[in-house]
Symmetry: none
Subunit: 184 residues, 4 copies
């Protein structure tokens, strides 16, 4: 019997390593060699888990998006109270982890301009997030819920983008203040 390996976990490890490399060196710095080294493996080992680079990148994006959502879900479950405010706050790049997610998202956003598969993954994640936010606004079933969700997400995204461009200016505290102001 061959060595037993948890393939899913290994794929996740590799995707996390890929995310780190992308955040550090940009998406074109994310060579298979570099990703493998970051994860503590050799290039050849990647091949057991991803048929090619495209697959690795798509999985990395998907993984980053999933993780963001699932971490939040866990926290919501723990506190038994998912409010609009906490949901939006957690989307801001106020922690190293969130900053990583955001940089990866942006790296793929540009890439997705010419890649329909990546574009689709991001589109789906975006729509999912909007639904979640819409379900948390004051009148979730009202006609304006979706629009309110969009407004709030725009607010969060706008703050996040500025924070990523100018991190010295945009401390976590300031990001949060800006969000609170926007929430009214």
């Amino acid at each position: 019997m061959p060595k037993v390996v948890d393939a899913d976990q290994r794929r996740s490890e590799l995707a996390t390593a890929a995310a780190r490399v992308i955040a550090r060196d940009g998406i074109d710095g994310a060579s298979l060699r570099e990703v493998a080294a970051e994860a503590g493996w050799t290039t050849g080992a990647l091949v057991h888990y991803f048929a090619n680079k495209r697959e690795l990148l798509a999985f990395t994006l998907q993984s980053s998006l999933d993780q963001r959502r699932s971490r939040h879900a866990v926290r919501a479950a723990m506190t038994s109270c998912e409010t609009l405010r906490t949901t939006l706050l957690e989307a801001l790049p106020t922690t190293d982890e969130n900053r990583l997610h955001w940089i990866v998202t942006l790296a793929f956003a540009a890439q997705a301009a010419g890649d329909t598969e990546l574009a689709e993954i991001q589109r789906m994640a975006y729509r999912g997030f909007r639904s979640r936010v819409a379900s948390l606004v004051d009148d979730p079933d009202g006609p304006a819920a979706e629009r309110e969700a969009e407004r709030l997400i725009a607010l969060v995204d706008g703050i996040a983008l500025q924070a990523l461009f100018d991190p010295d200016l945009w401390t976590p505290r300031r990001q949060i203040e800006a969000l609170e102001t926007g929430l009214g």
Copy 2:
């Protein structure tokens, strides 16, 4: 007598070509060969205008940001009336040209995470834009002007980001509506 060439104009042409390639193929699809071909030149010709690839990319980003600003300045001068509303509207990816600028911006945003030179260029452009917006709000010299400018830019950026991720949903008309709503 050597051929007279307007070096600055040539650099701009090449930067524009680079922007198109980046938007089409991603930043890692922007090889010198490809950029040169897009501009109608050979690789070797690039070398007279940019010492290396880094310089070309930095200039491409700078150029894209400058162009955005100067085009707007021209239009403001023509109408002799730069209002907050027109300034913000013109920042949205409602036209092909603006979409191109946005994709380039995002492509470099991710890259800038690990490149201080690119980061600095973007930071400066951002701060310049904030000053301009701040000078157009109701009470430009009041203590809240900067914060209001940040709020408005966050609004524009947030709408733009969603529009880039989901262009089918976010028609130009909807982007504008969302902005007007936010403007109050």
Copy 3:
């Protein structure tokens, strides 16, 4: 008790699979993975039967040559009558099986130019065939027997080579006609 496996038979199976792959994809398309897959095994299983790739290839050649001879011997035994004519006819690539043998032979012929082991295997097979043919000519013990055998083998090989290069032109029927003409 370990599973009982007929190692010799397994080696033959694998050699046959290798021959098929070589005929289909050329000798450089015959990777261990591909050969193993063709035989319905995994790469690692090969290692029990062949120490390395060289050994597999050498055995494949040997096997192809042996098989050709043994099949003919069987047929000769059944009919109790091995004539010069049937022996030579059976060497032509008139059937799929024989074509396979021929392509394998040619693939290794080129390879053998720089590999003394393969060259030796082929040389021995050639000499064996010549002896057999020589024993079937009119005056097997006469001084001209060997030369006559060489002439006949050259005839068969020449027809075979043309047939392999231009199979549409060289139908089985035409190959046989050309041989009969040459036999006089």
Copy 4:
């Protein structure tokens, strides 16, 4: 103005180097690195002359076949006398040069089994040779001319194949004797 290079000559040089490597190491030993090194270049230089490996290999085969023919044409022109005998004699692997051509031909013969482009090149060369031989037989316009040409080519090929398999036995002298005998 860039350095002037005779591209056709360079392609020929490279093809000759490729032929030498193929004869020495087999077709799967003919890596671009090895071919480039044999020709005294680096891998990257190949790219100026051949878009990819396939193109290099196809050109190498074509080149080997062309060369064989043109060398013969030159000699025929010099002596102003192309006879059946000299034409066939020159096809035998009696010299190092001819042996090289033959080994290359065989290497590609096996490869051509699964590659229609290579197969077509060889088929055309074969048919050309047959026409030439047919035009030199006793009654070139008679109905049997083609068949006689095929018989003679089979004779040459058959001798050549045996000579390649068993060079020690098949000295140039013996090859020639065998051919003369067959010519009658």
